[in-house]
Symmetry: C2
Amino acid sequence: MGLSRLPPQCHHGTTPFYTLENIAELMSLVVVGSVAYDGVETPHGKVDRMLGGAATYISLAASYFTHVKIVAVVGDDFAQQDVDLLASRDIDLSGLERVPGKTFFWAGKYTPDMNDRETLITDLNVFADFNPKLPDHYKSQPYVFLGNIQPDLQDSVRMQVNGTRLIGGDTMNLWIDITRAQLLNTIKHWDFLLINDGEARMLSGLNHLGKAAEKIMAMGPKTLIIKRGEYGAMLFHPNGYFAVPGYLLDQLYDPTGAGDCFAGGFMGYLAGEGVDPANGPIDAKLLGRAVVYGSVLGSFCCEQFGVDRFRSLTKKDIDQRFEEFRTFTAF
Amino acid sequence: MGLSRLPPQCHHGTTPFYTLENIAELMSLVVVGSVAYDGVETPHGKVDRMLGGAATYISLAASYFTHVKIVAVVGDDFAQQDVDLLASRDIDLSGLERVPGKTFFWAGKYTPDMNDRETLITDLNVFADFNPKLPDHYKSQPYVFLGNIQPDLQDSVRMQVNGTRLIGGDTMNLWIDITRAQLLNTIKHWDFLLINDGEARMLSGLNHLGKAAEKIMAMGPKTLIIKRGEYGAMLFHPNGYFAVPGYLLDQLYDPTGAGDCFAGGFMGYLAGEGVDPANGPIDAKLLGRAVVYGSVLGSFCCEQFGVDRFRSLTKKDIDQRFEEFRTFTAF
């Protein structure tokens, strides 16, 4: 059951055992991506500056399922209260590099129906020179999620880890457009790719999602997850597909980070379950549950501005919403 | 068990029994709407004239689940082969009025992605004076589906039937726009309304589907089904909602009639199951299965031009695809 890559063990009599700390280390998920400050305006309000960034959302969402180790860079303006929030979720911050300068800043404004947004400011700041370096104790971790950064940087992270069980990541239209060759060279090593429907069509050049998925899976990732916003998500694997409708939120306050929270919930759940593709194809229903947990985390993210929902969110809330998904999809 | 409205019965000893013919009559579904000729162009081809019309698609789809009685009008150009197709599905055509003149003709052209279409021709012809009159043996039927026609005409059909168990129907943006008062007066008597997401937003004036559903249900129909095209469908009832993603078709040839086939599959299944809201709220899972059967029929409809898929479609095909829905939504 995937124990072949266990670290040296203690023995008690003839039975090997692991301390809780060992197990947590064993199951850790390494997350790389941006940690940023965001300014966001939606029809429900406006916040000039708050914690954001893909790696932040992914890590917070995944932290409900597994132990997370973050790799990112921030400036010397990064606030202690934001460190504290991440630390409160037991996220390992030894890979959060702090350098002189300002933290990446992004600002955007959503359309009235919140299906689209306009970017107002992108100040890369210290993120412009981000060169992810993994602390030694990150390098033997079995789970790696490569958040949406330049594909060569994603690849440099992948090459720093050894014996990964499951590696996957995200990308965006910008990289598909301007760094296509690098992107293809990067994702060919991944177990899964997680993008939205527009990106899937752009990457494959095909409009039909099933045919797009087939073409993308031939590029390397044997599993493709396609996020469809309010319409839910699909997962394609060599033996079929899974689809789940979107959750009907009472109130959508701020969609920022929802896709990243989906990624965190998806990958965090798989890591927490200790899946190991080396033992054969991952069970289709388990992949389905990962997509539903992704959807659950994405839905919670939208209920408050920025990362605010994570200040009160509990595992019990998550499990209750998971059961709600069962109820409203059962027939 | 809804048997209170059974017709006079034969008795064998002390146990009442019904012949198959009695049961079929009892469970009949009356469908009113257009029977037409269509000209359709999609990226996959062009057909100048073929059988179409909402009542045609609804009746064909429903005929796999229950006995259907059609109410419509055609001109003297209506071809015997088209009569034969409907009759081959055991659809009662005694309410298909034939008058001098031409059958309703509609022509349209789809956009390359088939998410939209342009209407090229609308010749109402004999349909302009359609005044639905139900044959006597239609008037005591328990199930009625009012296809998309002028709301006052829908209401005149409703008033011709007595003791209906379940009555529902469809409408469109045109009637919401130009005959809103009549529409509201009509749907207040319905058990369910079946529309698409754009129409739900237009009718309610609300963007949020859940809030739109709440407002529409307050207009009368206790159940609201919202079709979302390739994204599937939702059903709202007083105690919650159900959602199913869309089926991933290998090839979408012609979406014409898909929404009507959804309606036929949905209503046909409920009629075939003999549901009777007089006995209490309809089981939520049964409503869910009706939505899935609707989705199944809608998906088959798109696989060939016009009604062509119904020339070969079997109940076994339908049940297999229903099981496919179970497989790709299970987690």
